[in-house]
Symmetry: C2
């Protein structure tokens, strides 16, 4: 077989990297569950026509076909449905809500952590297969605004819990579509989506070019363009940002009802966030984000010091997550790009795991004949929740210690001599527990102490691999 190369865009981690990823996923799950979000998973495939309803993403979809031609009965059974891999977790969730509406309770709070696939050209932080972690709250017919405050604060808590392993701080940037639309209409611009599309380019092409585009493409006057840029320039993390917007709007005589509603919402969010997650949430009036289907709050999240990575957690409020014609389900949600985050944590050496295996103790084997004794010691330790392995061979102890050392296993257990209280069955300890005595060596310090498998306990911090800040700058 020829040398095997990785597939570009399909990231995989070594065991130590997977421990980091698993830790991130565990923290997310724990945070989401603490807030009452129920975990669900959906199938990986959806009918192609469903996936293509958002036209913009059509080029990214992976389509499935079976290698063998379908036989006739199967074709009939399956109808014409062509299947594709989902490219996000929102489309499948919307379908799941409609399919199960009668069996769910609303408002329905769910989290969903799964892989998605996009046939895009791979780049740094942009993959063809990656894991997303989504939370959404979806209502039947209506959904109170306070959920638009809750979801970014849940994510702030999750990111906060990841700070201790070395995740840089995040800024969750929020805006409200009602504010933007209310303001644009107030100053006399009706092509709201057009304006937002140009504003979205600010970071890339700068204010002069955006102003020119607003005039050329959206029919804005120079003064209107200036007003739009002034609005986009406003940001802040306390109520003063609301006053700034109001003052700007008043100076243009652009205070509409929609603007007022949007500002009240944005203020509620900024005030609550200032109290519950100080410094994390920033109102940033230039955030435009997919405003074709978002109708209220919109969110983006940057890792401080890694802004060029793009948003690691985005979402917003949509009045129609799903609709079956009779019923409409509004929602609000946020999606973390887990692979993008973990990939940066690993490649930047921001974070590392203290070992590559779950094992806390390697139980040495004195001779193959006494392997059952080592198995018994390991069994007793495991009963008390201590992850163990038994050495692969009754090699010299130095070699067995090396086995542990190469994996980062902190302790090696040396069973007592088989004569010492073991019964005849190959050194297996009798029910009295004799034979479970031995000695245990911390191979980092070299300290070795006598110990009994029924009572010895490793320090809590050595029980499981820990995920800790790495030495890298991440740049």
């Amino acid at each position: 077989m020829a040398r095997i190369a990785p597939l570009s865009g399909f990231p995989e981690w070594l065991p130590q990297g997977r421990i980091v990823e698993q830790h991130v996923l565990d923290v997310l799950r724990r945070t989401f569950e603490l807030h009452g979000f129920a975990g669900i998973e959906t199938r990986a495939v959806e009918p192609l026509d469903q996936l293509l309803r958002k036209g913009e993403t059509s080029k990214e979809v992976y389509v499935l076909s079976r290698l063998q031609e379908l036989d006739e009965a199967e074709q009939k059974e399956r109808g014409d449905k062509q299947l594709g891999l989902h490219f996000d977790l929102t489309v499948p969730f919307a379908r799941y809500v409609l399919e199960n509406a009668g069996r769910l309770t609303f408002p329905f709070k769910r989290y969903q952590i799964q892989r998605v696939w996009r046939g895009e050209r791979p780049q740094d932080g942009r993959f063809r297969e990656f894991t997303q972690a989504d939370i959404d709250v979806v209502g039947a017919g209506e959904l109170p605004y306070h959920y638009e405050v809750e979801v970014p604060l849940v994510m702030a808590e999750a990111f906060g819990a990841l700070r201790e392993i070395g995740l840089p701080p995040v800024r969750i940037l929020v805006n409200n579509r009602k504010v933007a639309e209310g303001f644009y209409r107030g100053i006399g611009l009706s092509d709201v989506e057009g304006v937002l599309r140009q504003i979205d380019k600010l970071d890339k092409i700068g204010p002069e070019q955006v102003a020119a585009l607003l005039v050329d493409e959206c029919g804005a006057s120079e003064d209107q363009a200036k007003a739009c840029l002034a609005l986009a320039g406003i940001s802040g993390s306390d109520a003063s940002v609301i006053a700034d917007v109001r003052m700007l709007a008043e100076s243009y005589g652009a205070v509409t009802e929609l603007l007022t509603t949007g500002l009240a919402e944005l203020e509620t969010l900024v005030v609550a966030a200032g109290r519950r997650a100080p410094g994390v949430v920033v109102a940033d009036l230039k955030i435009a984000r997919g405003l074709d289907y978002y109708t209220g709050s919109v969110y983006e999240t940057v890792l401080v010091g890694h802004e060029q990575l793009g948003s690691v957690c985005s979402g917003g409020r949509y009045d129609t997550l799903a609709s079956d014609g009779k019923n409409t389900y509004p929602g609000v949600g946020l999606s973390i790009g887990v692979s993008r985050l973990v990939s940066r944590l690993l490649s930047g050496e921001l974070v590392t795991a203290t070992r590559s295996v779950p094992t806390a103790v390697l139980v040495a084997v004195t001779a193959e004949e006494t392997r059952p004794l080592s198995d018994a010691v390991a069994g007793v330790l495991r009963e008390r929740g201590i992850p163990c392995e038994v050495a692969p061979a009754a090699a010299k102890f130095g070699k067995q210690i090396k086995y542990a050392d190469r994996r980062g296993i902190p302790f090696v257990w040396f069973p007592g001599e088989p004569g010492q209280g073991a019964d005849d069955a190959g050194g297996v300890p009798a029910a009295t527990g004799a034979g479970l005595a031995g000695s245990v060596k911390d191979i980092r310090s070299g300290d070795q102490v006598d110990a009994d498998a029924k009572t010895w306990q490793p320090p809590a911090e050595d029980l499981h691999p820990r995920v800790v800040p790495g030495g890298g700058s991440g740049k």
Copy 2:
């Protein structure tokens, strides 16, 4: 939008079912990690030529194509490689081992819990998308026999840990290819694979027809066919089964070196299993299982009382899991069909979750103005690990209790009156913690007690949803 029907063969669970599945996965992960298996995940796709190396499975593979034609640069970049979804976790693991051999430590013990896809016709317990949970131990160049004892015992422990939620007992049926091959050769049959193929049909077509096929297809005499059936008829869970095989072989003068080696291995396994997992492992000499690549132990697992479901955990020893021409990696592994298992647990109502959400406490909202007080109470409870939700609206308390009841949330918290120690900021308790007092009602019993959010603790069994035996017979 038209009514949405499920896709046959692509199972999904409601939130309560997902809690059951998640519990099963958590137990498996915990057991595997206690035994020192490192978790990895591989990408969902492999180059088609790799997937098709096992010819037998070619018809099951889902092939991917991008909806849009590839542009020229991309074609060049990707070469000719067509991708398919993996149909098991063994092929990707073998590729992962070769790709990362220089960065892994051997013997390498890994577990892998992921979805796989097969384009088969869906049936009861047979899906097109399903989750497998695999453990394998792979060596570089060599792998001691004792790992063939370890892997089924790890699985026995995992299944044992699932008994308490209502999983029926399992029987792990084991055989050893060396025994079968040694015996067949000993009685003068050289078409070992042919004989095994016929023996594999015993359960379906019975001994008479198998005997006829052995004669017709494998060139066996009537006496040789009888001997094969006699071997296949032997089973048992202690060392007597070894004696039975040896006696049978002696009576045919068929004691070969291979047979003797195989019997010694099988005896080691049966004796260790009898000690460490009494009654679970059964030597069953008719287990034939994919013997084209297995070379030592083979395993199948049935749920007692649900034998018609087929094997829920299968695998074996293979001398060549992977090879790069220079190095060969022998392995032994077992794979649990998680979806098959969970599907039966749910459809048979063998198991249920005590609620449909993680939430232990619903914090009621007295008035929308005092929602921040309820948020603060929930925040304090969460800091102590208690999953909470805040009520969606300041409805009548009866309606808020109904919200909890419909989800199985056991407790509803009623915040103290906002006047009682809350500060001016919308009823948010001051740093002193005043305002965190309230009362909490167990809505199952109706008992209501005064409580402080900083100290009140729900009973441990109510903290998280539990997975418990259901009322169904499972038939």
